[in-house]
Symmetry: C2
Subunit: 373 residues, 2 copies
């Protein structure tokens, strides 16, 4: 069944929302862990749920190449394939193919590129992307858009959003699934006129939800926040808004305050594999010598499996020794940290206290000299 | 508390036994998974227990170097450090240091070798090995013995067992823990006179249990079985016997029939990382193309978490994509396979039907042309 979003409350521009899925109620704003290859690295579906995950992501590009969308379809779709009964969102594959393609290989038809696994020449088009995602059977699917470098000129972006809009339209024309939601993607860089034009034209096409693209590609925080503001401003209140690829804790708070409902990022699991853990007082590197005999949990009061059962000294040992159970414990902690943060954000929307919460969070996490406040 | 073994029944030379630990009853014969760095690769303690694990192993050499036995001691011992409340056995470190030392570096004092992590010169002696193991706080600890290559001459082995016996004595002299069991190790290659001499002299020293060393170093199966027979024959019935480094399913059965109670091997987890799974009909390689669209479990009727929730196609995908969740699922399956096999072995000791069970196992696992029957 198609997931139905309901806006519950607004506090300034921050939005509290909810939807039902498989009989379970989920609340937004929400952080979505990334499971590139139909697995959130090192974790089981049970661990993800225990860590507070709701929607999770899977990557169209990776699954298209391996094991192939037809295999996933024959398995009964992504949910059955990977044994996850919560909601799943897929990206369009655009982000990966744009990083593999040369400028001359980006045409109005689609993007020509070489398969990173075997060098085969491939073409990804808006139609193909939607077709793959329909076969994967995710609950929320993305339009194929032009992923633009930052910075790009107004001139380039003006042409680029025309292509993105054309591709959104072509994707929508072949989309014929009753159980999935199709999102349009707002591009336009840091230019309000282009973000506005792109957003309004997408809204005209009436998508099930809207994503904000073109962020998290090297721009500074004030620029990212502008890009988001210039997008959400022109989006309808009754539809979900998803900010792609953003997961830095402060960015979750700042962008919720700018009207975003959904976020995804590989950072909690990638940081984990490198031995980093989020805490309210900032990120720590567990490999640091000072944790060698630290027999306390990563963060006092944290309710995650890692913090309830293991010490920094043990997790440090595992990471230093290259044991994957270490990455697994830190992944559980980091995802729990972000899902707990989203829970606090939702509480503070309910209490109309998000700004105070943000200020307190910054003070604890960054100290007194944070520059982007 | 010290673990107390009780022999419950014999069926020919096969032995059914039991011991209590932390209020829980454990039965032998038993297979013990290996957790080199105080973690059974990719798995949590809870998963190990669900897979039927009882005693698990940890490696003295690795933990001595990293994080260091003093860190583990300060953590409250291995059980607290790694959050495992079942019994733990440690090896002596001998196997690793012998593989790193040149012949001239093996002296009566001990073994000189270079730390594989940083090249530092180190010396491991019988006293040091016992000291480290006492600090680690494992429940069953091993004497430091000379690990001999196969084949070795009668002449060399005759001198070697004198050293092994001297080292066993020196280790026993410094061993002063009331909560741990200390095992002596029978060496002597494939020579009955040497195995007998070594076993009888160890028994005279009165260890808490006995290990059989010098197997699983390249010898053929009939030679291994002889080595075991020549050892168990001279060991007391009321003490545990542990065959080190053996984990091939048929070897578990054959050596239980020769009087062994405990086994360990890295194979279930190492095979898992390479995509191999045990089944009653032999090992399978999950990477094989034929499993690409095989939406059945690894083994029908298997009660493990992997088989209850995932298909061969999904696990194949994970292994091919290099995702550790694949190794984790296969590790769970492979350990469960071996602990289930041990359970069947125990049932067949109870029913005096182990030989028939062995014959049926071989037929299913290897087919009709198995050569070592």
């Amino acid at each position: 069944m198609k997931l139905e979003y309901k806006l519950v409350k607004k506090s300034n521009n921050a939005r509290l929302g909810e939807f039902k899925y498989n009989g379970k109620l989920y609340e937004t704003p929400m952080f979505m862990p990334v499971g590139t290859n139909a697995t959130v690295k090192t974790l089981s579906p049970e661990e993800l749920k225990d860590a507070g995950a709701g929607i999770i992501l899977a990557n169209t590009y990776h699954l298209w190449l391996r094991p192939g969308e037809d295999v996933v379809k024959k398995a009964g779709g992504l949910h059955k394939f990977m044994n996850y009964d919560g909601p799943i969102l897929t990206d369009s594959g655009g982000f990966q193919v744009f990083s593999l393609a040369k400028p001359k290989d980006i045409t109005d038809e689609g993007v020509h590129f070489k398969n990173h696994l075997n060098g085969d020449s491939l073409l990804l088009t808006p139609e193909k992307s939607i077709d793959i995602q329909m076969k994967l059977g995710s609950d929320i699917i993305m339009s194929f858009d032009e992923c633009v470098k930052w910075p790009s000129t107004h001139d380039y972006l003006e042409k680029s959003i025309k292509r993105t809009l054309d591709w959104a339209k072509r994707g929508k024309e072949v989309f014929n699934s009753k159980d999935q939601m199709l999102f349009g993607i707002v591009q336009g860089g840091e230019y309000e006129d282009l973000r506005k034009e792109c957003a309004l034209k997408l809204v005209e096409m009436d998508f099930d939800g809207y994503s904000i693209g073109g962020t998290s590609v090297g721009e500074d925080k004030p620029t990212m926040y502008k890009m988001v503001e210039y997008s959400t401003k022109y989006l309808p209140e009754d539809k979900l808004r998803y900010l792609m690829g953003v997961g830095d804790p402060i960015d979750l708070i700042e962008n919720v305050m700018r009207g975003v409902d959904l976020f995804d990022c590989v950072s909690p699991t990638r940081l984990a594999r490198h031995g980093h853990a989020y805490t309210k007082n900032g990120k720590i590197n567990i490999k640091n010598n000072k944790y060698k005999e630290d027999f306390t949990s990563i963060e006092e009061g944290c309710n995650c499996y890692a913090c309830k059962n293991y010490t920094k000294a043990y997790i440090r040992h595992l990471i230093v020794a290259g044991e994957t159970f270490g990455a697994r414990l830190l992944s559980i902690h980091n995802i729990t940290f972000l899902t707990n943060l989203m829970k606090e954000i939702r509480e503070n929307i309910k209490n109309d206290s998000l700004e105070e919460f943000r200020d307190k969070f910054i003070l604890d996490y960054y100290g007194e000299n944070y520059e982007y406040k």
